[in-house]
Symmetry: C2
Subunit: 239 residues, 2 copies
DNA sequence: CTTTGTAATGAACTGGCCTCATTAGACCGC
DNA sequence: GCGGTCTAATGAGGCCAGTTCATTACAAAG
């Protein structure tokens, strides 16, 4: 309760040579070092002093440019993800809803497959955070997700999606499936095939969103009735 | 490298009265305290000393019964989840695949809705862990998930699921959708309706798993069969 | 060459997890 | 009741990672 100064003793730090750099470059170097370390150890196991060492700098310097460890890694994730988005192929020219869906799904799986460390950090550390929505990363991610939403919207406009379905729900099923299919991989329990997983998810989603000319609940009932009718007709004709 | 003893100075701790309890009860009290704190603060913000205080015990005592903080909370999650599983309604008597699906999905959403702290901890802290699969919790969770798998398997046996679909993929889509639909809630950004979400997910999954002859890509198949039937009827009528 | 702004330093601080030498409550046989 | 023994409980302190800040020194401008 007494906030009387702990009277930080005056210090006279001995010095090594200070390698002075323009802020922009120093920031870039720190981010690069942190990113490399994140890739090989994961967030929890990244120690500031190691990042500092790898960046050829001292711990305190990092705090000159970043509020704290978390802030640093948010910046890391943002620049990393931004880089990946840049490589994104444009899907606008591709014809056919199913093929367009496939490509965007494939893209997501491919990122996960090639950048598990980044994925883990974003999915586990950042997304659950109360102010995740305020991060630039959230907006970057939305930009990515909007690719899928675009495809869905256009399909919807063309009447290829059953009117009763909610587009966000379809979107969640797609990304939910992507995540669940890759958890084992992210836990380093084994590999997965981008192509096979892509095909599986695409198939179920595409099938699931089709408009049904009859009421959904009655679909199997309808099938049964149809079968009975066909059988009856066959009998009649056989007479 | 020199592991020469830091020569821990001999101490003579002053004592408060020690409330001696049979291990089982002490463990139960610590777990209860930790669970209450987990519910109100989340894992990261739970400090051992606070748990100790709430359990009416000193920090060191906790380490008598639990290896470390993580171990303690794993036990918390396990007992908590076990308790929830006990309340699970049996779905075996319910007729109809769709309704059975709906109930198991509803159950999962209901747990998330009522125990967000537990959910967050399990999904974020435990599931990503490399040895998640060795935890008792993993098996408990499998028991829960197997409810859905059971429904899917029986539906599959009855020919209600397209042969080309993978059951695990369907399962992942279900739970993936559940999770994605609830992330905002888990970040405390707002509530969600258990019933509406249940219906949405159930509808898409049910529709998505239909064999082609009735649903989905079968719409035109359906039309073709209809045409054949109409033609047959015309023939019959013409007789 | 001096001034001045600021990049960089590194010792010290903080707080949370965890250890362990020590104490003392409770049960037991006499 | 009474010492002996087992073990629950204690709490000071170790440890380590994140963070702060008074100080230093580099480099560009005057």
């Amino acid at each position: 309760m007494t906030s009387l100064q702990p009277a930080r003793a005056p210090r006279a730090p001995r010095r090594g040579p200070a390698n002075r750099l323009p802020p922009e470059r120093r920031i870039a170097e720190i981010i690069a070092a942190a990113r490399a370390l994140l890739a090989e150890r994961g967030y929890e196991n990244c120690v500031i002093s190691d990042i500092a060492e790898r960046a050829g700098v001292v711990e305190g310097t990092i705090y000159r440019y970043f509020e704290n460890k978390r802030d640093l890694f948010i910046k890391v994730a943002e620049s990393w993800f931004e880089e990946l988005l840049g490589q994104q192929e444009d899907v606008a020219h591709v014809a056919g809803t199913q093929e367009r869906l496939r490509r965007t799904i494939r893209r997501a799986l491919s990122i996960i497959r090639h950048e598990p460390a980044l994925t883990r950090f974003v999915l586990m550390e950042l997304r659950p955070d109360p102010d995740y929505k305020n991060l630039r990363l959230y907006r970057l991610n939305r930009a990515f997700v909007s690719g899928v939403m675009q495809v869905l919207k256009e399909a919807h406009a063309k009447g290829e999606i059953d009117g009763a379905l909610s587009l966000p729900l379809l979107r969640d099923m797609i990304f939910g499936a992507i995540e669940h299919q890759t958890w084992a991989f992210l836990r380093e329990e084994g590999d997965f095939s981008v192509d096979e997983t892509t095909d599986g998810i695409t198939a179920v989603v595409f099938r699931g969103m089709q408009p049904v000319s009859v009421g959904a609940a009655g679909a199997d009932d309808m099938a049964a009735r149809m079968e009975r009718m066909e059988a009856a007709i066959a009998r009649i004709e056989a007479r």
